[in-house]
């Protein structure tokens, strides 16, 4: 019965045949449609910014008397040729993010500031491990918190496979719960018959590849509508394009409800730029991606939360090369129709030397896990216990932030 509904809605003939195989755990969980109880059909998109986002340049504490001095030549200001966009009397948004500003004004975007994972060293790769694994420290964990959250959804409530966007699956979505992957490309495709023969061979000789290939085959055509021709070139276009494709998949009635994607390039050690420049360019790409999610998800945007997070922040004081080195606290951004937005939520630690973490970084006052827990709880009804034991192991002391979602 489940398979019938999949066939009708999603799959071409090739896929229908493929579903006869035994290795399709991924699709056994295919969607429960709307949540019967309240008619909501929640969606969650996690965007990982790899390289450590400078939170003080993304949402600048222009009301903090020490900010301009510390951030020096790249500090944002409320005046000048490219003024930052005021969010309240204290914080201002980078001018490269007009779409996010609009969502914020409409109450569909929020900022959490002085946020960090529990990781306190400054290695990107360990920092990303902690951010994505959901464990308190780095280690060779092979599953991510988003996957474990997916796994923890009650059987009847399973909202679908997670969607990994890009040629590799980010750690946050790796694990036991089935995931599917998709990446935008423009390449002539292998024909159905060849694909089926190969799946058959893999089923006998290499089950892991069988499952990977079948999943890859299933998602590809759904995402690649006619407007999906790969526009190559700059990173902004790529970020938008990835978001557009993911939104299209997720907008389908039986599409994935949960997706994770990663954007690279935020490691701004040198010539970071202020209102214009390298970081401005990247933030523009992120802003465009958020706008693509909004337009691509259509009616579903109402029930969507996008979480934008990074492994850690950057130094409060610029370094010797007009950039910033690895730091600690930073921002997390929420966007989506389901976000109770229009707010910068922060227990602001201040930027006086004595208030900086180790005398150099914005001090964390909010645990990123509490933010994510709050979103997962409000969107999917996960219990405190599951969140504290399974999704973010050993995190009972980290309480979910309440009321992030409408």
């Amino acid at each position: 019965m489940m398979i019938d509904c999949v066939e009708n809605r999603l799959l071409t003939s090739r896929r229908r045949l493929l579903l006869g195989g035994a290795s399709f755990a991924a699709w056994a969980y295919l969607p429960k449609l709307a949540r019967a109880a309240d008619g909501r059909d929640p969606r969650l998109i996690v965007v990982i910014l790899r390289g450590a986002l400078d939170g003080l340049s993304t949402v600048a504490p222009i009301g903090d008397p020490d900010y301009a001095g510390l951030h020096g030549s790249i500090a944002l200001a409320a005046d000048g040729a490219h003024p930052a966009i005021k969010l309240d009397s204290f914080f201002a948004l980078h001018p490269g993010m007009p779409e996010f500003a609009r969502m914020y004004r409409d109450g569909h975007a929020a900022v959490l500031h002085a946020v960090a994972t529990p990781y306190r060293d400054r290695s990107h790769f360990d920092g990303q491990d902690v951010l994505e694994s959901g464990y308190a420290g780095p280690g060779r964990v092979q599953s991510g918190w988003l996957n474990r959250a997916l796994e923890a959804l009650p059987r009847g409530e399973r909202v679908s496979s997670g969607l990994a966007v890009g040629p590799t699956t980010p750690l946050v979505l790796r694990g036991n719960a089935p995931t599917v992957g998709w990446a935008p490309v423009a390449l002539p495709q292998a024909d159905d018959d060849t694909a089926m023969r190969l799946v058959e061979l893999y089923r006998h000789r290499d089950p892991a590849l069988a499952s990977a290939l079948s999943q890859g085959l299933q998602l590809d055509k759904v995402a690649s509508g006619d407007d999906m021709k790969a526009t190559r070139g700059n990173a902004v276009a790529q970020m938008r394009q990835v978001a557009r494709g993911a939104a299209k998949l997720m907008a389908a009635d039986d599409g994935p409800r949960i997706a994770a994607l990663a954007f690279d390039g935020w490691d701004t050690h040198a010539n970071e730029g202020g209102p214009v420049g390298r970081l401005a360019f990247l933030l523009g790409g992120l802003d465009g991606a958020l706008a693509e999610f909004e337009s691509g998800l259509g009616n579903r945007w109402r029930d969507t939360v996008v979480v934008v997070a990074t492994e850690f922040g950057r130094t409060a004081r610029i370094n010797g090369t007009d950039g910033t080195d690895h730091g600690t606290a930073t921002v997390a951004l929420l966007a989506g129709g389901a976000v109770k937005g229009g707010r910068v939520i922060s227990d602001w630690p201040g930027l006086k030397l004595a208030n900086l973490y180790e005398g150099r970084d914005l001090k964390p006052t909010t645990d990123l896990r509490s933010v994510i827990k709050g979103v997962l709880q409000d969107q999917f009804g996960l219990s405190d216990r599951v969140l504290a034991e399974t999704v973010f192991p050993d995190s009972a002391a980290v309480k979910p932030v309440k009321g992030l979602v409408v």
Binding site: R50, A81, R122, S123, F125, Q142, G166, P167, T168, T169, R174, T179, G181, A183, V185, A186, L187, P188, Q189, A190, D191, T194, R197, L198, E200, L201, Y202, R205, D206, A208, L209, A212, L213, S214, Q215, G216, D220, K229, A230, R232, G233, N234, A235, V236, Q238, D264, G265, H269, A270, V276, G277, R278, F281, L282, N319, G320, T321, D322, D325, H326
Partner: protein, 517 residues
């Protein structure tokens, strides 16, 4: 007999780039003496170096970039001078920000974009190359721009590397080059200098030491202009140096951190934030001469005493009171022989060649060899090949996209004459040449390369190759070259029963025998 073929697969696939087709006899040769087949290349250390007509040194290439940038600037100024002031009514204020925005777009595209090389490749006719043409929209496409010196160089370097990989016998030394090049990676997408230097960096800093000493490779890498540029050290000034006092710039700890975290000790290798800052100070002044050449030959490594933080520094509890360049060289020499480095390198090496979960006993043995021989990388490679574990472990690692494409080219005996198809396909599969997403290089686990979309894309590429070249081969002959009686019954049957030679070739390239190593 079956056993010998199995060992030959280990020799060719685990250690090398796979069997070559045609008359090479690789599989038969590897079957008769698998270990000897692998080790034969180690006896020819000069074979690791890569020299091809037209490949230039780092200073020459740096100067070419400077000259190119000057040309672009002059052309722009000439155009500006020639064009009569446009409609004066138009507010000039409109134009200036627009120009600036474009410049920053370009700069950031250099940093984050991966497709820079794909574009010219699409526009180049490649009669016989293994290309699935990456279907660009035909309409409204501007005429192809001639390649600039940076793109030309990148492609020439890529071609030389690909040709070498396709032609070598086993490919073990080339695999070692790829391993070390990824360990000490730079990214061409950092900017024009990084792009033009990417190949030279590997030829100059990696290859000479792949069968030499780790300490020598470390020094060559950290003093190479490409690395200094990639991790920003050329801009780092000691706060108390003369230049630091005069200018408003100062320390950048990027390179120092990655030296310890990624190149030597490994994260958790026992260093602190204080050590990072110390090492950053120690290597201030490590830079390359700029276009004016005040410090030396433009584009060459120089030590700039005016940028160097004066005075002794404490690193990992030891005081370094040498003056100038010697301070950093002493620090690197100690990092190279630190016990954490031996552990980190041994585990990474075994993980790459043997299994995602490296057998601990083998890691320990390699670590001991590394320590005892003071980082003799050839001794470490020999120990690996002599081990039982490396031959007993099942072939479960996924070939990376680069390995997969090279292995396919070898089996089909196609020596590339143009790198475009390879570069495009590497971009598509998430492993753009010399352009990893971060300084930790490309991932090295099966999980990363066996993702659904990645496998699906490989199939599409294999189907394209099959469609182009399938008619030229008997697929069962190719299976004989690739695996002989180590091929599974199912793979053989799948190929026999294919509906066309084209389909058979695609299936062969995608078979577990070709995907796993």
């Amino acid at each position: 007999m079956a056993r010998d073929s199995q060992a030959a697969l280990v020799a060719l696939n685990r250690f090398g780039f796979g069997a070559r087709g045609g008359a090479s006899g690789d599989l038969i040769n590897a079957s008769s003496d698998p270990r000897g087949f692998v080790k034969a290349e180690l006896a020819r250390p000069n074979g690791v170096l890569l020299e091809a007509p037209g490949l230039q040194s780092t200073p020459q290439l740096g100067q070419a970039v400077f000259a190119y940038q000057d040309q672009v600037k002059q052309a722009r100024e000439a155009a500006k001078a020639a064009a009569p002031a446009e409609t004066p009514a138009q507010a000039p204020a409109d134009q200036k920000p627009a120009l600036r925005r474009n410049l920053s777009l370009n700069a950031a595209a250099e940093i984050t974009g991966q497709m820079t090389d794909a574009r010219p490749a699409e526009n180049t006719a490649r009669p016989e190359a293994m290309q699935p043409s990456a279907s660009p929209p035909p309409a409204a496409k501007p005429a192809p721009q001639p390649l600039n010196v940076i793109q030309k160089t990148f492609r020439a370097e890529a071609l030389a590397r690909l040709q070498r990989a396709t032609l070598v016998e086993c490919g073990f030394t080339e695999r070692l080059v790829v391993f070390w090049s990824n360990h000490f990676c730079i990214s061409a997408s950092k900017g024009e200098l990084a792009r033009i230097w990417a190949g030279a960096f590997e030829r100059e800093a990696i290859r000479p030491h792949v069968l030499g000493r780790f300490a020598d490779m470390l020094k060559a890498v950290e003093q190479h202009p490409a690395m200094l540029f990639f991790l920003d050290n050329q801009q780092s000034l000691g706060p108390d140096s003369r230049a630091g006092q005069n200018r408003k710039r100062g320390l950048n700890e990027n390179l120092a951190r990655e030296i310890m975290e990624l190149h030597t000790l490994g994260v958790g290798g026992g260093y602190t934030q204080g050590d990072v800052t110390s090492l950053a100070r120690i290597i201030t002044g490590w830079t390359f001469a700029g276009r004016q050449g005040q410090l030396g030959v433009p584009g060459s490594f120089v030590f700039n005493v005016n940028a160097h933080q004066p005075g002794p520094q404490v690193l990992l509890g030891k005081t370094y009171d040498q003056a100038g360049l010697a301070q950093g060289e002493a620090a690197l020499a100690d990092l190279a022989r630190h016990p954490s480095t031996a552990n980190f390198i041994a585990a990474k090496f075994v993980r790459h060649f043997v299994a995602d979960d490296p057998p601990p006993a083998l890691v320990a043995r390699l670590r001991d060899v590394f320590v005892k021989t003071d980082g003799d990388l050839k001794a470490m490679a020999i120990t690996l090949v002599d081990s039982d574990e490396a031959w007993r472990a099942p072939l479960t690692k996924m070939r990376s996209p680069y390995d997969f494409l090279v292995a396919s080219g070898r089996l089909l005996a196609r020596v590339p004459e143009d790198p475009g198809a390879y570069l495009n396909n590497l971009n598509l599969l998430g492993q753009p040449l010399w352009s990893p997403p971060g300084p930790n290089g490309f991932p090295d686990t099966s999980a990363a390369w066996a993702a659904p979309e990645g496998i699906k894309l490989r199939l599409d590429i294999a189907a394209q190759i099959g469609a182009r070249l399938g008619n030229n081969f008997d697929p069962l002959d190719l299976l004989e070259f690739a695996a002989a009686d180590a091929a599974s019954t199912e793979t053989r049957r799948t190929i026999e029963r294919a509906e066309s030679r084209q389909q058979a070739l695609a299936l062969l390239l995608m078979s577990p025998e070709m995907q796993r190593r």
